[in-house]
């Protein structure tokens, strides 16, 4: 029994309460829109039409058009695709090595543990966005710099959480019993570690994805991340900001998308019932 479980919500604690259900359905909806949306509406998000700028929603343009006459819905969907896939990719490539390194550190202990922890602490010492900015400076406007920066920042949490929890679990009699019975590392990871740390890792993944989505938009907004003309929520916010008086509903759209995505990710973890 651990008293330092901040993130480890057990399925019972998570429950399938209203908040979590809402978060999960919102997230599924957003993901479906991002995957199939651009295909379904079939409008090129980059096609300009200078005769029809800053239009209100209509049958032809469901969410109106921006200052260059581009279809807002097409741009939002394409932005969702970009943000969500970038988030999913960076979370995945942070989670797998982070978790494995955490297990390795707690398993081997000694110098392995010390070196890995030192490395993790060094990364943690840099403010998250700084690393992303440094990489973005090397290759301005490219998605891979963003992705690499995010992934390199996010893995630390998986490492620290896994290492901390695994150290406790690996010292339990049940693990000793399994070793005496002749089981190897794969069994111990599969039966002892993953069932215990899995729920906590999912929580970190959801929060990490929210961080990634926000970071992509924030960097786009200050023009150091994804560059125009790519449809990206942060870039759209910057571009539509000058028109907020004439067409407030336009800038509201990417803002709402960002808020909804982050909200959905946070709610999907579930709200822990008070003890």
């Amino acid at each position: 029994m651990s008293h330092t479980q901040i993130l480890a919500n057990t399925p019972q604690q998570r429950g399938l309460n209203f908040a979590r259900l809402l978060g999960l359905s919102l997230l599924t909806g957003l993901a479906l829109c991002a995957v199939m949306g651009p295909e379904l509406i079939g409008i090129d998000p980059a096609r300009q039409s200078l005769m029809h700028t800053l239009q209100s929603p209509s049958a032809a343009h469901w969410l109106g058009t921006d200052h260059l006459g581009r279809d807002m819905l097409a741009r939002l969907l394409s932005g969702a695709q970009l943000s969500l896939s970038l988030a999913a990719l960076s979370v995945f490539t942070a989670a797998v090595p982070g978790t494995l390194m955490g297990i390795l550190a707690s398993w081997r202990g000694g110098w392995t543990d010390r070196i890995l922890t030192l490395f993790a602490d060094a990364v943690l010492a840099l403010p998250g966005l700084l690393l992303v900015l440094m990489l973005a400076a090397i290759s301005p406007g490219s998605w891979w710099a963003l992705y690499a920066g995010l992934s390199l920042t996010l893995w630390v949490e998986y490492f620290r959480y896994t290492r901390q929890r695994s150290r406790v679990i690996l010292s339990e009699p049940s693990v000793e019993a399994s070793r005496l019975l002749g089981f190897g590392a794969v069994h111990i990871v599969k039966r002892h570690l993953l069932p215990e740390i899995g729920p906590g890792l999912l929580t970190i993944a959801a929060f990490g994805a929210a961080t990634a989505v926000t970071a992509v938009a924030a960097l786009g907004f200050v023009s150091v991340g994804i560059r125009p003309p790519t449809a990206e929520w942060g870039v759209m916010m910057t571009q539509l900001l000058p028109y907020w008086r004439e067409a407030p509903f336009l800038i509201l759209q990417p803002v709402l998308c960002l808020v909804l995505t982050v909200l959905a990710l946070h709610l999907s973890v579930g709200v822990r019932k008070p003890a």
């Binding site: 029994m1 008293h3 339990e172 009699p173 049940s174 000793e176 019993a177 399994s178 070793r179 005496l180 019975l181 002749g182 089981f183 069994h187 039966r191 002892h192 069932p195 215990e196």
Partner: protein, 468 residues
């Protein structure tokens, strides 16, 4: 004339429509002791929870409970929680788990003095210092609970629970998991409670505790009252056969296990020395283990019994000397049983899955494993449950079945029954003896109970504390 502090009339506890406990009636005066005795699952803890109003979800109680003249059974749990610590104090089972692991010992006691008893900061800290010196806890003030011994943690919990001097103290299994010396210490502490004018309700499965505490006794079996009376009467002259059974299960009234002819040599330990923190725990220990043999190792806590088992199992290497495993003992030929059965299984995995993994690894048919299980009296339906949904006694037997699946030559048992009630303890140890006899397995039993060591084993090694 002393006044009634707690009275319970026609108390029942139900799960849905199923009756789990009842009817229970008792009346306890200030300065008196009531011992509630029964095996695990008899509903002893339910009774305490019904009084406190902390029954688990899905259970409900009926009946009339008066606490210090107030009727409390109709109050909501929130209203009842105001009485905790002030009118009724509880010393929980294994109190070291009830302490905050991140808070210094003295702060936890001081907190009770300040916020439960309502003293100001200065008085509270004086009262705390007082508690620590009367309870022989000097030097433990600034330690975290993890750095306290079981007995010390229990006294800290006792101080925290009784800070607001509630007139009624409920002690739930106060001796569970403690060695003889610490057991005596906590009992003498509890025995003072009625002398100071409090009423004591002690819940236990050990007749020994009842004998020491005296007062009245109620014997429960599967939720119903079997017998009650003064403890002298009940313990020396029981009317119910169940009470007799409980008394017979006490290790000192066991009959000696017949010796068995030992077989081939399996394990040989020579001149073992084990050190911990620059203290030599064990010096020149030599042991020869043969098939069919039952060996007991006894001694107080902290004397290195568990370390010795780890050395024998090959998990840890000795600081001096060596252990030779005969060729007939394969690399999974030494298996271990643990003190806390739930901790010996991965807790998120159903038991059946755990056992199937073992069977598969060792190439054993499932029918063989279910044979072991039925031999040990385990119902197959338990295999779908997780370790925490099975009783300690059942789980220990399942862990025996798990060890047998690996076809061991040597079974090392680390206090396997110290958390079980006496009847289950006797059954479990008899089963282990049966395995030694029939399957030619050598068993090394570590225990803190001298009676068990002498009655159960062929050979008994007694380790004494180097420190004392």
């Amino acid at each position: 004339m002393s006044q009634t502090t707690i009275s319970v009339e026609a108390l029942f506890v139900y799960a849905g429509t199923k009756q789990l406990l009842g009817p229970i009636n008792f009346r306890l005066m200030a300065g008196r002791t009531l011992v509630i005795m029964g095996e695990t699952g008899a509903g002893k803890s339910l009774l305490a929870q019904a009084i406190l109003g902390t029954l688990p979800d899905g259970l409900r109680s009926s009946g009339v409970i008066h606490l210090n003249g107030q009727r409390i059974d109709q109050l909501s749990p929130q209203e009842r929680s105001r009485f905790w610590g002030r009118e009724v104090a509880i010393l929980p089972q294994e109190p070291w788990r009830a302490l905050d692991p991140l808070m210094q010992a003295c702060a936890q006691v001081q907190e009770s003095h300040r916020f439960v008893a309502g003293l100001d900061k200065q008085t509270a800290s004086t009262a705390t210092a007082n508690d620590f010196s009367t309870l022989d806890l000097n030097g433990a003030e600034r330690r975290l609970p993890g750095a306290l011994s079981g007995g010390m943690a229990q006294r800290v919990a006792f101080a925290a629970a009784t800070a607001a001097s509630a007139p009624v103290l409920i002690a739930d299994e106060p001796t569970k998991g403690l060695d003889a010396e610490r057991r005596d210490k906590i009992i003498s502490l509890l025995a003072q409670w009625p002398n100071q004018g409090g009423a004591l309700v002690a819940i236990t499965h050990e007749a020994f505790v009842a004998r020491q505490l005296g007062g009245d006794i109620m014997v429960l079996k599967s939720g119903t009252l079997v017998e009650n009376g003064t403890s002298e009467e009940v313990l020396t002259n029981p009317r119910a056969s169940y009470t007799q059974q409980l008394l017979d299960a006490e290790p000192h009234s066991w009959s000696k296990q017949p010796a068995v002819k030992s077989g081939e040599l399996l394990l040989c330990a020579k001149n073992l020395c084990i050190w911990r923190n620059n203290t030599c725990l064990l010096k020149h220990f030599t042991l020869k283990l043969h098939a069919n043999e039952r060996i007991a190792i006894s001694g107080p806590s902290g004397v290195g019994k568990t370390s010795l088992l780890d050395v024998l199992a090959g998990i840890r290497s000795p600081d001096e000397g060596h252990v030779t495993r005969m060729r007939s003992v394969g690399h999974t030929g030494i298996q271990k049983l643990y003190q806390d059965p739930p901790a010996a299984f991965p807790d998120k995995v159903p038991l059946g899955k755990s056992l199937r993994d073992v069977a598969q690894l060792h190439g054993v048919e499932w029918s063989v494993v279910s044979g072991y299980l039925s031999e040990l009296g385990i119902h197959p339906s338990l295999m779908e449950r997780r370790p925490d949904a099975v009783s300690g006694g059942e789980l220990q037997r399942i862990s025996i079945a798990r060890a047998l699946t690996a076809k061991p030559a040597v079974l090392l048992a680390d206090e396997p029954t110290s958390r079980l009630d006496p009847i289950t303890q006797r059954e479990t140890l008899a089963m282990i003896a049966g395995i030694a006899k029939e399957r030619g397995v050598a068993v090394v039993l570590v225990t803190h109970d001298l009676d068990i060591a002498t009655k159960w084993a062929d050979h008994h090694y007694r380790l004494d504390s180097v420190l004392s």
